[in-house]
Amino acid sequence: MPDAAIFANNMSTSVKHIVTLIKKDLLLEVRQQYTFYGILLYVASTIFIVYLTMGQPEGQVWNSLFWIVQLFVCVNAVAKSFLGDSRGRMLYFYSIAGATDFILSKLVFNIILMLVMSLLSLGVFIVLLDNPLTHFTAFLGISMLGGLGLALVFTFLAAIAAKAQQQAALMAIMGFPVIVPQLLLLSKIAKTAFEPVIQGGIWQMVLVLMGLDLLTVILALILFPFLWKD
């Protein structure tokens, strides 16, 4: 077989592995509904607390509260992604799928999860805290982009934390400082969705953000095999 055909063959098997692993995670999520509903309850009650204590804040406060809630939702939703699998099962995945396929499937699954959560918290925010947005679709896009970036960074950090003791505490200790630059960019980009005119300069920041996301994926692919091997 020529090299290109072998490469194409390898690609198709690895795509098959990734799809199977994502399906497995989705199925687990559907079967063990309490985890999914647990996060939903977390989203709803956090935003409800914000509503009870703040009432309906103006644009800037709304924006910063939205990103803080997103951060906490992400930590809670993604933190458990490496805990469900026992040592023996991890070894099994390693032997049949390989490290890069495994981490890619986790990344994609968590992105899907975070996109759903972002949509949901945006909905609850608008219902409870009113809608100060002037450009709804722009903010929708930014919150999707934010969910994507948060999911990528925290998936990788969860992989690191899974190897240490006190995973939940470590996620917060490692994750909050690391995510600050991204959140800063996101809230700055999101600010334009509250203003009457969308400023031209935001594309530069969106590009930086997407660059960071790409960097996260590349680093996860390169570094995860080192974490995996014991």
Partner: protein, 224 residues
């Protein structure tokens, strides 16, 4: 002499900065900066030092992952530690200066915030190390986190301040400020700043090598 000439050099350079640095004629700028511009010889080298040490630390983390030699982890750890100390000193020297020049020690400048985030990220590195008991695992995982943190942090330190307004020099208004403006500094200030960068960085390397030797001695004592 062949091995320790740079320690003598570090001593001489810092002697120059700490004596001649206070005597050399600097522009007074209509009384705005007065003599406080001499902070450039102390504050700016701290940031150069921090960036250099964190970069060296990440290089050793990469080397550790490729060669799996425990020695590289000592290097990565100690360079990260010295980098963090330099970062904290940079924040302090900046805050003392800002108290007189900007009116308050902390004014939420993008550069100040970025530096504080950098230090938090590296403090998390030490916490992470402490939470793993297995030694091989600790070396490997902290190397992975080191690389990840560096890659997340430094683009934002080097790119973001150029996109927002800052009180730091190099001002291009809304176009953003890199933090330094070599084209608008007096030659005396620039040259003493570089002497300071060389001197303080060499001192940092000296401290780090001492600590690395200490680490190796402790390890030797523990494991025979």
């Amino acid at each position: 002499m062949r091995n320790y000439w740079w320690k003598i050099l570090a001593y001489l350079l810092l002697l120059t900065v700490c004596t001649e640095g206070f005597l050399v004629k600097v522009p007074v700028l209509e009384g705005r900066l007065q003599q406080s511009v001499r902070n450039t010889f102390f504050h700016v080298p701290m940031w150069f030092g921090m960036m250099i040490f964190f970069t060296v630390s990440v290089v050793y983390a990469l080397l550790y992952l490729y060669k799996q030699k425990p020695g590289y982890d000592h290097y990565a750890l100690e360079f990260a530690r010295t980098g963090t100390v330099f970062g904290i000193l940079g924040l302090i020297t900046g805050a003392i200066w800002a108290n007189y020049q900007w009116g308050s020690p902390w004014s939420g400048d993008p550069k100040q915030n970025g530096a504080a985030v950098a230090i938090l990220i590296y403090l998390a590195y030490f916490v992470l190390r402490g939470s793993i008991n297995d030694i091989d695992k600790r070396h490997k995982i902290s190397a992975v986190y080191n690389i990840f943190a560096y890659a997340m942090l430094f683009p934002t330190i080097w790119i973001l301040p150029r996109m927002t307004e800052s009180l730091h020099p190099g001002g291009m208004g809304a176009e953003g400020n890199p933090g330094l403006n070599p084209n608008d500094s007096a030659p005396a200030v620039t040259s003493f700043m570089w002497i300071g960068v060389a001197g303080w960085t060499l001192l940092g390397v000296w401290i780090t090598t001492l600590r690395i030797r200490l680490q190796f001695l402790i390890e030797k004592k523990l494991h025979g």
